[in-house]
Symmetry: C2
Subunit: 369 residues, 2 copies
Amino acid sequence: MHPTELVLSPRLRKTAFEERVFDLGVQSFTIYNHMTLPVSFSSNPDSYQHLCEHVQLWDVAAERQVEVVGPDALQLVELITPRDISKCAVGQCVYAPLVDDDGLVVNDPLILRLAEDRFWISIADSDVLLWVKGIAYGRGFDVKVFEPDVSPLALQGPKANDVMVDLLGESVLDIRFFRFIETEIAGTPVVLARSGWSGQGGFEIYLQNSADGLALWDAVWQAGEKYNIRTGAPNLIERLETGLKSYGSDMSHGDHVLECGFEQYLNVDKPAEYMSRDSIARVQKEGVKRRLCHLIAAGDPLPGLREYWQVIQGDQVVGRASSCAWSPKYKANLLFAMLSIDVSAPGAEVTLLVGGAGVDAVVCDEQWN
Amino acid sequence: MHPTELVLSPRLRKTAFEERVFDLGVQSFTIYNHMTLPVSFSSNPDSYQHLCEHVQLWDVAAERQVEVVGPDALQLVELITPRDISKCAVGQCVYAPLVDDDGLVVNDPLILRLAEDRFWISIADSDVLLWVKGIAYGRGFDVKVFEPDVSPLALQGPKANDVMVDLLGESVLDIRFFRFIETEIAGTPVVLARSGWSGQGGFEIYLQNSADGLALWDAVWQAGEKYNIRTGAPNLIERLETGLKSYGSDMSHGDHVLECGFEQYLNVDKPAEYMSRDSIARVQKEGVKRRLCHLIAAGDPLPGLREYWQVIQGDQVVGRASSCAWSPKYKANLLFAMLSIDVSAPGAEVTLLVGGAGVDAVVCDEQWN
């Protein structure tokens, strides 16, 4: 892979925590929602080991929020997802793929219900603000749609509970998974959710005033010091082991929602109107042609992907691999790949084309079996 | 400025020309429309000198196209801009700010009219595809809205005409400014427009099949060799001297269209329906509170901006500076800044806060006088 420098400019928005990210020796970034998202502070395997044993504080401010508030807020949020949002209680968050009228995935956010008529759509990397505002305008809904000054900070890892108890007391353990409370840390109001982009447990802390970013960071960091806290970032190895897909890589606006393994997050028979209903019904009837699968490739660690790797079987192209990491837990390369339905069953044998060379791989289930 | 590495992954889309960009020693990138956009191959002043004297080939595939086609295409494109698109002939392109129902700027694309009922919106860095598709859905328009496989390549500089004549013959000189033809280069169909993101003249060549990207690049490069062609990128120094604003930096979705100096591109009394009409009428009546201005700061070159610099007058904050480069032509630092209307007249004296230090600057007109 060639060395590549990122030129920072005002167009690539600075996060509320950037000063600490540089203080702590960030090595690399990606850009996500027109904002910097740190990628590494040390090697991926090193950071992975630490994340699985201790606790990490991540600048994930690039997970921007789209606030939808007003009398028609629920109707609008229902319209853009096949998930039943009427069942989401105030204080709850749900993983809800956003799907357009062609059945294609626009984003895969968490949706937080802050009040009966007020939601935050906590987004992956696409301009959901424009999508939702455009629909609201077109339909004449009585809502406000905007990006509030909200910056998530993630506290992830097995010792996250200890840190948060030291900060806020034992009662924080009462917050159930995918539920949130409104509280204060370091004198600044936060939404505190039991969620995060790892399988190691922890919290997402939604700062609501950028000017308090460094104070919030420092307070959490200080509480974490006795638990061996480090900074870090969503970790490629950990997310593959946990099965977390990344929008824009593993699935994107070119993929139908029924191809992406989202079934458990869909309520296709929900009573509310939603824009992807007809497309989903049609594809359910016809059957999907591709499916996002888990693949294992034994052997030495494969390189990082700059672009999709082709997946072949015999001389037929049968799909594309989109994420890959060597897993210490499974002692093999784990991959996500969009595959033709006829090679998508666990046990199917395929070949990855990596820099011109063929690499054997086997389809497995969502638990990597 | 800290060193920063960009981690490339499938989410940051590869361009059709990337291989040549690496072959030619790209030094740095930015991310634009979820795609790489090269920033530098040599120093800014070096590339600037070459661009103003010779000819450069730029990978600007990150200027993505949003195609709008169908019976309601014109009605939809009219709706999203205060520019009169009915006056845009087939074969013509117009610079047309996209403006939402609050009067805020969503993007500042060129719009190319390919047929009576078919347009390409050639976009700056925001997901206009989602914006336009959302509105089309909400209004129930009979159109298709999608991102075609189209990748612009820019040929810019005073010798661009010579290169293009050698490639396609004298008749290419008949293409007027902001007009385009459909032709072929290296056996691949292209849209060839007299346009580009510099003031040095030249063409934008819209490739319509990614697989032909390297062949197109090589054909243009070969024709350019006797004219001292180099690669390059939109140049910060040149764009400031020429007065080209950058969406996301100099103006963004937080700014009202009447604050951005777009008057010559607006037809606010056009007959067609457009969504920003009421907001524009209201702000015209009330008067704007801020205005995007040109500023000159004498003295040594200032550093690059990571984030906006505050602009003050006395002890009052009066605005933000968003772009800055030292100009060999004007022997001074040129800046764009959004300033309070009461300090926006040429001759007004203000102070930039650059890393805590004050730097004197003077407002000037759009010709840097």
